[in-house]
């Protein structure tokens, strides 16, 4: 693994279903983030984690949850998907006290 990986690459999901987007980094970065990208809105922060064992809410956290059991993994869960959660989701990471973020390739999620 080199950098950040995300899985799946894309997914079509029925409304009401539960879904977990996976994110793994091998750079030993302390901080990790989840963003969603929507046309005309740029990227918006969903949740973040400054270090393993801690998480925080971003700009648009409703309907999403995260966990950070270890340094490398930061899964994002949609407990009951809704069509407004159709988006491209990006995971990112950064070193402590360094704002330069490294992004994964993204997951394209469609909720029908």
């Amino acid at each position: 693994i080199a950098g950040i990986t995300q899985a799946p690459t894309s997914q079509i999901l029925a409304a009401g279903r539960r879904m977990t987007l996976r994110c793994t980094q091998d750079m030993r970065h302390n901080a990790m983030y989840w963003y969603r990208q929507d046309l005309g809105l740029g990227l918006r922060l969903i949740h973040y984690s400054n270090t393993a064992g801690t998480t925080g809410k971003g700009e648009v956290p409703d309907g999403y949850s995260v966990s950070r059991a270890n340094t490398d993994d930061f899964p994002l869960t949609l407990a009951s998907a809704v069509p407004s959660q159709t988006s491209v989701y990006f995971c990112a990471s950064s070193e402590l006290d360094n704002n330069e973020q490294f992004f994964g390739p993204g997951t394209r999620l469609t909720v029908l």
Binding site: G40, L45, G56, N99, G104
Partner: protein
């Protein structure tokens, strides 16, 4: 908390012409600013950043941006663009109450370089 505004959603330009992508920020605290580039169907990559020091920062592929405190701007420029510069460009700044690590992004500017 900081916020950023990108004034142009699309910028069409001919190859070898100069280009400027505009970004304005609002902040009452120390400023850190970034430009990211997203090529089609890819994630974002850091293009350049301003943390402190010289107000003019450059990237390895010919882009530059100037931090202008009086105009609260961080415009991205390139004197001569190539077809390969076609991408979406995002200006970003620290979000504020997240330990100054998470970023807030502008809405993006799609640069379309035409032959």
């Amino acid at each position: 908390a900081q916020s950023v505004t990108q004034l142009d959603s699309q910028v069409p330009v001919f190859e070898e012409a100069p280009v400027e992508l505009r970004c304005n920020y609002s902040s009452s605290v120390s400023v850190y600013l970034f430009w990211y580039v997203q090529y089609p169907n890819q994630g974002l990559q850091l293009l350049l950043k301003y943390l402190s020091g010289s107000t003019l920062v450059e990237s390895i592929n010919g882009f530059e941006a100037e931090f202008n405190k009086s105009q609260t701007s961080f415009h991205l420029r390139k004197p001569s663009v190539h077809i390969s510069d076609t991408a979406e460009y995002f200006c970003a700044a620290p979000l504020g109450n997240t330990g100054r690590r998470a970023l807030t992004f502008g809405s993006g500017t799609r640069l379309q370089v035409q032959p």
